[in-house]
Point group: C2
Chain length 298, copies 2
């Protein structure tokens, strides 16, 4: 796994400019982030939305958007539909959600006829660079699936592993997290972890290493493993942390970002093309990191 977002962005630049399709681009946040990603050589943008508004918002942010980057479409649903179509037809590489409700965006994305649906569920991965860890790691799913069952967790794992592969990790180490490292029937996440671990042992999940249930300290700290006498091929060196549910994932990713000074980016996996969603609360660096992730996973 790459060690930092700097390294990741360099890798993305080497890969060459990808075509970023921005659905409903009439928004300061996505316009600024996309322009900045273009300036750093990561992408070529295709802004889908109301041309006049896009030009106006661009102007108010201090840059002029070239007409050739704009696909003039009125209406939110139309804009999403057009954006998805551009990617589907091979004229765009990945998507960025603009100023459109997540539910409306996902409806267009997952449309059975003309969407980008695959056999996998959509899952969210946060990629984190933390002061106390020796490499970037994924934490998933703190953004999409509320209370995943075993089948959903398997999709979460498969999506994260495919993505890890695109970041250059050949045999990702997956830690399934819980509060404890023993299987306790009263804690469903420990039961799920045992099931998935055994599926992986039987080769049902492909070329990955899985261990769980693991408490967080055992997943990421070799020292904690030594003190507790735990040995495993994953423990102390995890590339991917699987959380029990959206609350655990969302809280733990954000606590590390806001209070532990970690750098972060997020991506939605499981569609035919990667999808980037930014939050208004993200800082400029986070937004750029997320777009770089999208480039790498194309």
């Amino acid at each position: 796994m790459v060690k930092s977002f700097e390294e990741l962005k360099e890798k993305a630049k080497v890969k060459g400019q990808k075509r970023l399709v921005v659905a409903c681009a009439e928004d300061k946040t996505v316009l600024e982030a996309s322009m900045s990603a273009m300036e750093t050589g990561l992408i070529t943008p295709i802004f889908v939305g109301d041309k006049n508004k896009i030009l106006e918002i661009g102007k108010s942010c201090g840059f002029s958007v070239d007409n050739k980057y704009i696909e003039d479409i009125i209406g939110v649903e139309n804009s999403v539909k057009k954006s998805v179509e551009i990617v589907r037809s091979g004229n765009g590489d990945f998507l960025l959600k603009g100023i459109v409700k997540t539910s409306t965006f996902l409806k267009g994305l997952l449309d059975a006829e003309c969407g980008l649906r695959t056999s996998r569920r959509l899952t969210h991965s946060a990629i984190l660079e933390a002061p106390g860890y020796h490499k970037l790691f994924q934490l998933t799913d703190g953004g999409m699936n509320v209370k995943p069952d075993v089948e959903t967790k398997i999709d979460i794992i498969k999506n994260a592993c495919d993505f890890a592969l695109s970041l250059g990790v050949m045999k990702p180490k997956v830690a399934i997290l819980a509060a404890v490292e023993v299987v306790n029937p009263e804690m469903q996440e420990t039961v799920d972890a045992a099931i998935i671990k055994q599926m992986a042992e039987r080769g049902q999940l492909g070329e990955i290493l899985v261990d769980g249930p693991l408490a967080l300290d055992l997943a990421v700290s070799k020292e904690a493993c030594e003190k507790k006498g735990i040995t495993s091929s994953v423990a102390g060196d995890a590339d991917i942390l699987i959380v029990p549910d959206i609350a655990a994932g969302n809280i733990s990713a954000k606590i590390l970002i806001y209070l532990g000074k970690a750098k972060a980016a997020g991506i939605i996996l499981g569609a035919k093309a990667p999808v980037v969603m930014l939050s208004r609360a993200d800082d400029t660096e986070t937004k750029l990191n997320s777009i770089a992730l999208g480039v790498l996973s194309c």
Copy 2:
């Protein structure tokens, strides 16, 4: 709220030496931590357990335990019983769990006849000093209650608020965490948060400020609140973070400690006297911080 563990330890020293009763003290970890706490003037120890073993282990760690600090008792159950009795009779101020199974220890602690049970449930609070926050804060419950219902969450909140008071916070700010800040019937933690918030509004929880559901960024970052247009008396400045369940709490506290370089301590609240439990994986500083917390909450 105090700003750091250094400040907290100074406060504990000012309070004066408290009598720490160590149940089943035949253990390197607790002996070392207690001796170190005595040296720094925080406590006077009462080591309950097999005298010969205690002396032997002390010797192997390079210090001689004075006989006057030892209560010679053979047998794990007996040792727990005696320790609880010492506190119950007023001859000790708080407890430290030594080398005894948590279940055995809690059984003795909660014994209906001769334990230290109160009307409140036992709850675990982690106290954290994080690089990105302006004060110490509590995160609870990531250690005792697996899937707390509303009633249990209220005990968790009350215990944490009483404890905050002993740390000098007169009107603690309590954030009930979830992945989102909207109430969503499919996410039980957001429903529980709404219920508890309204109970607090009606004055049912005493002199505290509560808000929830709150995503973590809103609980601790004024900047995130501004960007999302959220105002509340708690948001951006929480003293106490209430997590949905043990998994979310355990993972988020540990990720901040191990990957976000936070300092930490833990304490069990809700009994007649505070109870400290240390983990072998804790470092010396964490152990000492936990004992200082015990002193302050006596």
